[in-house]
Amino acid sequence: MNVDLVVFLALLSAGYVFGRYNERKHFRSIQEREQAMRELLVFSERLPPPQPGAVECTLVVGSCVVAFDYFKSFVAGLRNLFGGRVTSYETLMDRARREALLRMKQEAAELGATMIVNVKIETSSISGEAANATGSVEVMAYGTAIVPRQRG
């Protein structure tokens, strides 16, 4: 049996097993934290709704880098032949977006914010154009945290 083939199958299975395990774990964690931080509202509106009392505005940022596993890259490569939804990357991007938002919210929560406005999400590939590089994507979420000014 060909050595290349053995290596390929090993990478594919490892990618599948670990990738799937991590994905499930990550989704569970995301869902729990989203529930926990539901009270902190996020909006893409540029300006906050009229607030009673004085507030402070602070930039908050959350970012997350997720790497493709071999299995996902292979499936996506096959998908390039036929076109259509690259479902293997969809879960990855969903996780990265939500994780970035959560980290941004975490930062805002630590500042005592009640809401974040003007939220933007940016995505960039950090694998570069190198051929065969195992790619990663960074998703960054940033916005303006509205922190009610402490009295006294």
Binding site: F27, L41, K72, F74, L78, S88, R97
Partner: protein, 282 residues
């Protein structure tokens, strides 16, 4: 205006399908593309191969005869080989082979029941198959079948297809960057492994029947050849001759239906003498 963050249903932004299911669908699709591409390439290469001049094919096969221990043939075997060559020459005339296309027959010392045609019009006939020939008519059938392969350029077509398939698979898998193809061409001397497809075999069978008709004026005995092959295949050592050929039963039936009655002639003296050595009890 009410400001709120409603809970977004889980999975709104990604597919819930099992990733292995997608992999399976994509792999099947890719496999279908590969299969179609390889078949198309093989068919195209087979067609192109027929454009190769026969002289070029002969040059490729030049080393073929030298690989055989020609000197090892006994006087009896040489006489039988000459007799076979004379029969092949007559068959070549009957089949109206183009000028320059002259099959050369080689007798191979071996008990396996086999006869095959390869590049450059070289035919190989084993002592084993001669020993099993019930009459001259069957021998003419097998020789005419092999000469027909040469006439139809089947060996070079098979080579073209083989090379195209190897090159395509090599290119697709990325393994062995063309080295496989070079090997295949380099081994041209050992191309006893060329396989013909069923259409080629059927065409050769039909040509053999026409040859019999011209030789004797009738085609009796043609089916006997395939009965011999069937019996040989039933033995513990199935000849590779059988593996790619149309199902023997079907061939027997087809040959039998096409046969016209006539006397079955004894084997030529030189071949009968050789066979008598192999079967001293008879």
């Amino acid at each position: 205006m009410r400001y709120e963050n409603p809970q977004i249903p889980e999975g709104a932004n990604y597919s819930q399908d099992h990733p292995l299911k997608e992999l399976a669908v994509l792999l099947l699709g890719a496999l279908a593309i590969v299969v179609v591409a390889v078949f198309t390439l093989a068919a195209a290469a087979g067609w192109l191969a027929t454009k190769i001049p026969f002289a070029t094919e002969q040059a490729w096969a030049a080393g073929l005869a030298e690989q055989l221990p020609a000197s090892a043939l006994s006087a009896d075997e040489l006489a039988a080989q000459q007799r076979l060559q004379a029969m092949v020459d007559r068959i070549a005339t009957l089949q109206e082979l183009p000028a320059g296309m002259s099959p050369v027959v080689h007798l191979v010392d071996g008990s396996e029941v086999n006869a095959f045609a390869t590049l450059g019009g070289h035919l190989f006939v084993t002592r084993g198959i001669l020993a099993d020939m019930p009459h001259e008519n069957a021998l003419v059938t097998v020789l005419a079948h092999e000469v027909a392969h040469v006439k139809h350029r089947d060996p070079v077509v098979a080579l073209g297809r083989g090379v195209a398939v190897m090159a395509a698979l090599g290119a697709l898998s990325g393994f062995g960057d063309g080295g496989v193809v070079a090997n295949q061409l380099g081994n041209a001397g050992l191309l006893t492994t060329l396989t013909f497809n069923r259409d080629q075999e059927r065409a050769a069978d039909e040509e053999a029947l026409r040859t019999l008709e011209r030789w004797y004026g009738y085609t009796a005995g043609a089916a006997d050849l395939f009965r011999v092959l069937e019996r040989a295949a039933a033995g513990h050592e199935p000849p590779e001759f059988m593996s790619t050929h149309p199902a023997t039963d079907e061939r027997i039936a087809r040959m039998h239906a096409a046969e016209t009655p006539g006397p079955l002639l004894p084997l030529p003296a030189e071949i009968a003498a050789l066979v008598a050595v192999d079967h001293p009890e008879e």
